[in-house]
């Protein structure tokens, strides 16, 4: 079935329900954000911001090798997880730790990857969260496969597949959208356009009218949304999930946001962007506007805000404790999960490491 181009086009401007001043836009007025959802979302935003800042600090203290922060993108992170049901799947990238935590995964397990103990620190099956993907856009195809398997079994699972603006240039992005469209898979492709792929600005990735317009080429409806507006994100992503679950196929959502910090701690953002550009986004912070709105609605007061901050602090403390505890990784894991069963060659190599260790121990004991 061919859809008309008009039905695939994103809105003229990114959908916004809450302005940077915390007031409802005309669109927001008619959409009537759900108070409870916004309050729940705000609590998650506070927790996400605290997680980002805690992880960033842990890099400086040498407890984490590196941390790609989503500071400034927390509304996207939180919304991507909150719109999903328990049986749905989330496919995050390395920058989406806050989204993974918002889905319920233990933050200490999430940060295992960056601590260097192992690759994926959590069991993906427990919360239906795929391992955080480092090779760009590759995970989008996995998301399509997971969705198709669910459809074949008659399940109503929806898959939320995350990527950034840079990843939209990868071939796998295009192949994933095309496969999802052809097989009509229940996938929401959610692009967090934070304007930079490490140092390269969006203009070097694409001259399309918007990234959301890219859906048209695949017959997928696109929408764009203010990525720092939690209310709009919950609405747009929530609708996309509902339509996917109802059998309408995949959708593409682009959020306009900004990476407030460098790519990682190892990056120097002053080499490619001005501080003034960054400062301009401070006024569009995703937390401030929800807080302003909730306070004006009388849904949030100082006591409640303090409770949320304290809850976030408890998690931050647990993250600190977890990452300050050194666990000697088991050398046997080097060989245990390459295959379901070790090959004879891996048995030999594991024996070699065990022998090296036993001789080291013997030498130490002899001293």
């Amino acid at each position: 079935m061919q859809r008309g181009v008009e039905s695939l086009l994103p809105s003229e401007e990114p959908v916004q329900h809450l302005g940077a001043d915390g007031r409802l836009t005309p669109l927001g007025e008619s959409a009537k954000p759900d108070d409870e959802a916004l309050l729940e979302g705000y609590a998650a935003l506070v927790a996400a911001r605290r997680l980002n800042d805690q992880a960033y600090a842990l890099v400086r203290q040498g407890r984490l090798a590196v941390y790609p922060s989503s500071h400034g993108q927390e509304a996207c992170q939180v919304a991507a997880s909150l719109v999903l049901g328990r049986r749905d799947w989330l496919f995050p990238t390395y920058r989406d730790s806050a989204a993974v935590v918002a889905r319920g995964v233990d933050p200490v397990e999430v940060l295992v990857l960056l601590k260097g103990d192992w690759h994926a620190g959590y069991d993906p099956r427990e919360h239906q969260v795929a391992p955080q993907a480092t090779p760009l856009a590759t995970q989008l195809l996995h998301a399509v496969g997971v969705a198709h398997a669910a459809t074949l079994r008659g399940e109503d699972t929806v898959v939320m597949a995350l990527c950034g603006d840079g990843a939209t240039s990868e071939g796998d992005f295009h192949e994933a959208l095309n496969f999802a469209a052809v097989f009509k898979c229940p996938v929401v492709f959610f692009v967090q356009n934070n304007e930079y792929a490490i140092s390269v600005p969006l203009a070097r990735q694409s001259v399309a009218p918007s990234l959301a317009h890219k859906g048209i080429g695949y017959g997928i409806p696109g929408e764009r949304v203010d990525g720092n507006d939690l209310a709009a994100l919950l609405s747009v992503l929530g609708d996309a999930v509902t339509r996917a679950r109802d059998g309408e196929g995949p959708q593409l959502v682009e959020a306009h946001t900004y990476r407030m910090q460098a790519h990682t701690n190892a990056d120097d953002a002053t080499r490619y962007r001005n501080d003034a550009d960054v400062q301009a986004w401070v006024h569009r912070d995703p937390l401030t506007r929800v807080e302003t709105y909730l306070r004006e609605r009388g849904l949030l007061d100082d006591a409640k805000a303090a409770d949320l901050a304290e809850a976030a602090e408890v998690v931050a403390a647990r993250v600190r404790d977890g990452l300050n505890t050194d666990v000697e990784p088991d050398h046997r894991t080097l060989f245990d999960h390459v295959y379901a069963r070790r090959t004879p060659q891996l048995e030999e190599q594991a024996a070699l490491v065990a022998d090296e260790l036993s001789r080291e121990t013997a030498t130490e004991e002899a001293r």
Partner: protein, 345 residues
């Protein structure tokens, strides 16, 4: 899924003997796919032209008709897409069997194979796995134009997490493909194109086996020829000719490149004291090189001569009218055997 109701009756009576049939390798592969799909409804077959057409080599012939288009289907023409899609299906309980239409057409999928198919189990410490079979019509000898005749096994064999197998007979094609589909790990299944139409007896009741064993396919006492896939018939032919010249050559069919059966290969080489590895792929940094190194390390004191390799040259696969120079030939194998320090014997 439609397959549930379409499973052939034979799955409910697995003990019913089906006997030995004379089949081409293409037919044997087709039977293996059918039998595995009938046995396990999570087995999905997909790729380019594998649906109603039955694949450009007809290996998937009739599967869409028998099992429905949810079980055997065409995809968009995008190999990375096929492979990444397979990873997701495998993550969610399916057993994908994908066809890369030709060896050299599989390269777009390489990142998905190396970064995800091969590593999914490891990076999740066993929580997830990718039981995917990657079928690749493989190697030369059919007069194919460029990009249709690559011997790409070394790329896959070098990647931890993948099993790599190549059958040389219809019987092995059947049992190895059944084993590959049943394997909990990803298997790169290299189908020698030039052997697709070679006939042989296939015991459809042969007991299931696990991947990872080599086999002595011809006994001999003077030297051991080690080969796999398309080179096995050439090695056997060389041994036949050598016998008429009074030299007894043993032939080992590797069958499984990864895991490698050191035990069988080394026992064979120790019994003769001389070895030649035969493979179509370019020799530099190849599977043949790995085999030569392993045999040398493990059998050094039993060797009367250095382990030699007869491989393709280190050139892009030649055009059809020149390909006979590239393929290991009986003469080139026998010339090499002649150089194995016989004067010291």
């Amino acid at each position: 899924m439609t397959a549930t109701t379409q499973a052939p009756a034979e799955t409910s009576t697995p003990t019913a003997a089906r006997g030995v049939e004379m089949l081409t390798m293409a037919q044997a592969l087709n039977r293996a796919l059918r039998d595995s799909m009938a046995q396990d409804e999570s087995v999905l077959v997909f790729g380019e032209d594998v649906g109603p057409l039955g694949g450009v080599f007809r290996i998937t012939d009739g599967l869409t008709a028998e099992f429905g288009e949810q079980r055997c289907f065409d995809t968009p023409l995008a190999e990375a897409g096929i492979m990444g899609f397979a990873v997701g299906l495998a993550m969610n309980g399916m057993r994908p069997v994908v066809e890369m239409q030709f060896d050299a057409f599989a390269y777009p999928a390489f990142e998905q194979v190396v970064s995800h198919v091969a590593k999914l189990r490891n990076r999740t410490r066993g929580a997830l796995s990718a039981p995917i079979v990657i079928r690749i019509p493989y190697a030369g000898g059919i007069g194919g134009v460029e990009h249709h005749c690559d011997s790409s096994e070394a790329y896959y064999a070098h990647t931890p997490g993948l099993h790599v197998v190549s059958p040389s007979t219809p019987a092995d094609a059947y049992t190895l493909l059944r084993a590959a589909i049943a394997s909990p790990d990803p298997v790169v299944f290299l189908e020698p194109k030039k052997l697709y139409w070679a006939k042989g007896e296939v015991d459809l009741d042969a007991p299931a086996e696990e991947i990872g064993t080599a086999r002595v396919v011809r006994e001999g006492t003077d030297a051991t020829l080690i080969a796999y896939g398309p080179s096995v018939p050439t090695a056997l032919e060389a041994a036949e000719v050598a016998a008429t010249e009074g030299r007894s050559l043993q032939v080992v069919d590797i069958r499984s490149i990864v895991p490698f059966d050191d035990e069988t290969v080394c026992a064979a080489v120790r019994s003769t004291g001389r070895a030649v590895v035969v493979a179509e792929a370019s020799g530099f940094a190849s599977v043949a090189s790995e085999i030569a190194a392993r045999v040398t390390e493990r059998c050094f004191h039993h060797l009367a001569a250095p382990v030699r390799r007869v491989t393709g040259f280190d050139i892009p696969y030649p055009p059809p009218k020149l390909e006979h120079f590239q393929l290991p030939s009986v003469d080139r194998i026998l010339d090499t055997v002649d150089e194995l320090n016989w004067e010291d014997a």
